[in-house]
Amino acid sequence: MYPITTAHYIALSAALLLIGTVGVLTRRNIVIILMSIELILNAVNINLVAFSQALHSLSGQVFAIFVITDAVAEAAVGLGILIALFRNKETVLADEVDLLKW
């Protein structure tokens, strides 16, 4: 149980990643799918910081900063797409956007 090791952080990060994956795969609301992607990126960050701590190298924390940058860019573009989609189709449900299906 304790002391807390890197394996604890990896297990927590894996659990958070799987929660995010279930959210992306099962929810219909696009806003909540984007939130699940944020959960997945946070799981990645927990992993990076845990290994940075274990290996005494700050590169992991620098990569966590880059992952946060990507998360910001992804959220901004994703929410912009969502607004454009709502303006054109009046829906925020992912499976009602099926223009390319036949």
């Binding site: 149980m1 304790y2 002391p3 807390i4 090791t5 890197t6 394996a7 604890h8 952080y9 990896i10 297990a11 894996a14 958070l16 990643l17 799987l18 929660i19 995010g20 994956t21 279930v22 959210g23 795969l25 099962t26 219909r28 609301n29 806003v31 909540i32 939130m35 699940s36 944020e38 959960l39 946070n42 960050n45 927990i46 910081v49 845990a50 274990a54 005494h56 700050l58 590169s59 924390q61 620098v62 966590a64 900063i65 880059f66 946060i68 940058t69 910001v72 860019a73 959220a75 901004a76 573009v77 929410l79 912009g80 969502l82 607004i83 454009a84 709502f86 303006r87 829906t91 925020v92």
Partner: protein, 175 residues
């Protein structure tokens, strides 16, 4: 006795419970605003874990950027987009089977690795705290970021510029 290890373990389990409970509630709530609130709980748990691992700069970035920036963006979009209709409809698509299969596969792999892979990677040993440096975490991080990772840093700034222009173009009424 409240030794430092015990304090660290108690804090870890409190923050881990925040992270996991917040995450599960985020993906199961019907109302998107409630989901956003529970996502904030989860992100604050992650921030606490950064603090527990002496990553003070990332702790501040997590609070300011994620909870202060991204979540406000989410809440603005939730208010711009009318979600009342969506809240009345079916919340889950019928993909439970494929989702559970993916989760079982990846979860089995990860936890098998954690069970077996401890020895070669030395992940099951408590980390040794680094010797106290005269520089704080932010100064050390700035040294690494602006010396070793200068080019990726500039690329990241271009990425942000493209994202800003892209999201403005997306949200404009007429292009």
């Amino acid at each position: 006795m409240l030794t430092p290890e015990l304090t660290q373990a108690i804090s870890f389990y409190i923050f881990a419970a925040m992270v996991l409970a917040g995450g599960i509630l985020t993906i199961t709530r019907r109302n998107a605003v409630h989901s956003a609130m529970f996502l904030i709980v989860s992100l604050m748990g992650v921030a606490g874990l950064y603090l527990l691992q002496q990553a003070e700069f990332l702790f501040a970035v997590q609070i300011v950027l994620y909870i202060g920036g991204i979540m406000v963006l989410f809440l603005f979009v939730i208010m711009l987009v009318n979600l009342d209709q969506a809240a009345k409809e079916k919340q889950f698509s019928g993909q439970w089977a494929i989702a559970l299969a993916c989760v079982a596969l990846v979860g089995a792999q990860v936890f098998w690795f954690l069970g077996k892979g401890g020895a070669p990677f030395k992940i099951a040993q408590p980390g040794i705290l680094p010797a106290a440096s005269a520089l704080g975490n932010t100064e050390q991080l700035a040294d690494v970021l602006f010396q070793e990772y200068l080019l990726p840093f500039e690329v990241a700034s271009i990425l942000l510029l493209v994202a800003v222009v892209g999201s403005v173009v997306m949200a404009k009424k007429r292009i």
